[in-house]
């Protein structure tokens, strides 16, 4: 590597400092949440628990894991994320590749047809009636089927596919490969970074989705952990409720709501986020430079 000039050195110093500061600011809240989740609830309310638990306990996790519903919710989350990601990525990638082909008749109309749905929707009630008439209520498939195609991801896929060297496809065509063959044997293998990225996005969306289950699932055996976490967090949100109640009722409400301590909330949050957070480091290895170039030279 060539020697760095002065201004380059300065820039590198700035970049390192900036990244360290940013990383710390991003890391600390998460770390603190982790620490709080290992700290005794009543002690946490006294404040001052920062980098290390003051009164260490596993109690919070014991409570979380004692609750069958949370465990069950965890498995629901995992299965819908795995199944949902694989199917959606496959379906969306196929669609996106078709949409990159310039000879596709109606391509621009199709594109507008898709983009239109990013802004216009019929609202919740018609969607609900549709889902229930399709018999998807309280079914695992309600997590999967409506999410098969993401227009947003299709656009990103398409943008990446478009930047693949055209020559590859053309030479394959000359060699007599079919369009589907080109897609599976040339385009997909060359698209490691974008597949990794969009798989991550899709997995995160599936994992974090609390809304679909809140509406379409009433059977508690199919409620994923994020929906449960949201409920726990909601107990701490101040809504306008208290402003229309007499004080005696506020007292009853408080009694109902304060059953979850901060430590327990954080423990639940950890269980609900750590698994998906761990996915990213595995995705990063696909972001290696020159993947594409290497294959071109073969």
């Amino acid at each position: 590597m060539a020697r760095l000039g002065f201004s380059d050195k300065l820039m590198m110093i700035f970049i390192y400092v900036f990244l360290i500061v940013l990383s710390f600011s991003a890391f600390y809240p998460f770390w603190n949440a982790l620490v709080v989740s290992f700290n005794l609830g009543i002690d946490t309310t006294k404040g001052g628990v920062t980098f290390w638990p003051r009164v260490f306990t596993l109690e919070n996790y014991q409570i979380v894991f004692k609750d069958d519903r949370l465990i069950n919710g965890f498995f629901v989350s995992v299965s819908r994320t795995v199944v949902g990601t694989i199917t959606a990525i496959l379906m969306t990638a196929i669609l996106a590749y078709g949409m990159t082909r310039r000879e596709l008749i109606g391509r621009n109309y199709f594109m507008f047809f898709f983009v239109f749905t990013m802004y216009f929707g019929g609202g919740l009630i018609p969607s609900y009636l549709l889902i229930s008439s399709l018999g998807l209520m309280n079914k695992f498939l309600v997590f999967i089927i409506p999410a098969l195609i993401s227009v947003w991801n299709m656009i990103i896929f398409r943008t990446f596919f478009k930047s693949l060297p055209l020559g590859l496809e053309e030479s394959a065509q000359i060699d007599g490969a079919t369009n589907w063959g080109i897609f599976f044997r040339i385009v997909l293998p060359l698209s490691g970074p974008v597949i990794a990225t969009l798989s991550l996005f899709t997995a995160v969306a599936h994992w974090n989705d609390w809304f679909t289950p809140s509406i379409y699932i009433t059977n508690e055996n199919l409620i994923p952990i994020q929906t449960m976490l949201r409920q726990i967090l909601n107990a701490n949100i101040v809504t306008d409720m208290a402003s229309n109640m007499d004080t005696a009722s506020i007292a009853r409400l408080d009694q109902m709501r304060t059953i979850t301590t901060k430590s327990l909330t954080m423990a639940t949050m950890m269980v609900a986020t750590l698994p998906i957070v761990m996915v990213y480091p595995f995705v990063q290895k696909y972001f290696v430079k020159g993947v594409l170039i290497g294959s071109l030279k073969e």
Partner: protein
């Protein structure tokens, strides 16, 4: 090089196609059509079939009628009129536009810059750690982030006020969260902080398409880092950047919801914090005014699609457009 491919492709696209009978051509490309039709059908079923719901914005929709929306009386543009005439309209629109423009101007380039910075890091371990760590906040719910912001900016032992005090910049703690002049900055900073790492992922993926030989060649030529970024990295990720920019412009009326709801706790902030979505939530959803909420949603959608079309039209010249 990557740039070259894009240009090449654009040229090819603009070539006049041989005119044949459309039916014949369709049959000839049945395999490609087969790639898009499952998607079209799915979107048709799950996005287009429910779209009749839009009609309720021109009705007084009674929820007990359920799917039989024809049982509701038509009221024309009544709900739109009500929204435009409401005393909050001006404020709500101004806040929506200002907040989303700020989010666009600051929040859009931030992840790109982070990705460019990360690309300069040669130390792989450090790079991976930074990548992973900066992406963590995306997974914290806004409730927790808002709680954090509040304790940081608190007047009672909040870390920001303590810091400012210890360096003698202020004598009395500043009540950041109750003063209108600070709200937008707080909101935008919290947003950028939360999403910067996650947002940079797709650009990192795009950067991995750069041919490393180009950097080597540039190094030999003695080009500075800045020049390399400008001449090699940025052109490579440009298609992605432009597409994302078009999409963000289409999203300009979505100024946020949960973040604003939770950070603008003090009602005195309402003149600067109320945006379309928080307003509709307050007067629409929680008060059963479904038609009203749908009408405002439709208004937003029409403007969004207009903005998107415009952005797309402009972007066409660069060869990177949605359609």
């Amino acid at each position: 090089m990557a740039q070259a491919t894009t240009e090449q492709r654009t040229r090819l696209e603009q070539q006049p196609k041989p005119k044949k009978n459309i039916f014949v051509r369709f049959l000839k490309q049945w395999d490609i059509q087969l790639m898009v039709w499952p998607g079209i059908l799915l979107i048709f079923v799950f996005a287009y079939l429910p779209m009749y719901g839009i009609l309720t914005s021109f009705m007084d929709y009674n929820i007990f009628t359920g799917g039989n929306i024809w049982a509701n009386p038509w009221v024309g543009f009544k709900h739109f009129q009500m929204f435009f005439d409401s005393p909050e309209f001006y404020n709500v629109m101004r806040n929506t536009i200002v907040i989303s423009l700020l989010k666009f101007v600051i929040g859009f380039p931030a992840p790109i810059i982070l990705a460019l910075m990360l690309n300069e890091i040669r130390h792989m371990m450090f790079k991976r750690i930074v990548q992973t760590v900066t992406y963590l906040p995306h997974f914290m719910s806004w409730v927790i982030v808002a709680g954090l912001v509040m304790s940081m900016l608190s007047t009672e032992n909040g870390s920001v006020n303590m810091l400012l005090k210890s360096v003698n910049m202020i004598d009395e703690p500043i009540n950041f969260l109750s003063m209108k002049e600070y709200f937008w900055s707080i909101l935008i900073s919290a947003n950028v902080w939360k999403e910067i790492g996650f947002g940079s992922i797709v650009y990192l993926a795009a950067i991995s398409g750069v041919d490393p030989h180009l950097y080597e060649a540039a190094d030999i030529d003695g080009a500075s880092k800045f020049k390399q970024i400008y001449l090699i990295t940025i052109p490579t990720i440009m298609p992605v950047v432009i597409i994302f920019m078009i999409l963000s412009i289409g999203n300009l009326l979505n100024a946020g919801f949960e973040d604003i709801l939770l950070l603008a706790n003090n009602p005195v902030l309402r003149p600067v914090s109320d945006v379309i979505d928080t307003y509709v939530y307050r007067v629409g959803l929680s008060n059963f005014r479904y038609s009203y909420a749908t009408a405002v949603g439709l208004f937003k959608a029409v403007i969004s699609i207009g903005l998107l079309t415009m952005a797309n039209y402009i972007a066409r010249r660069s060869g990177n457009s949605l359609w």
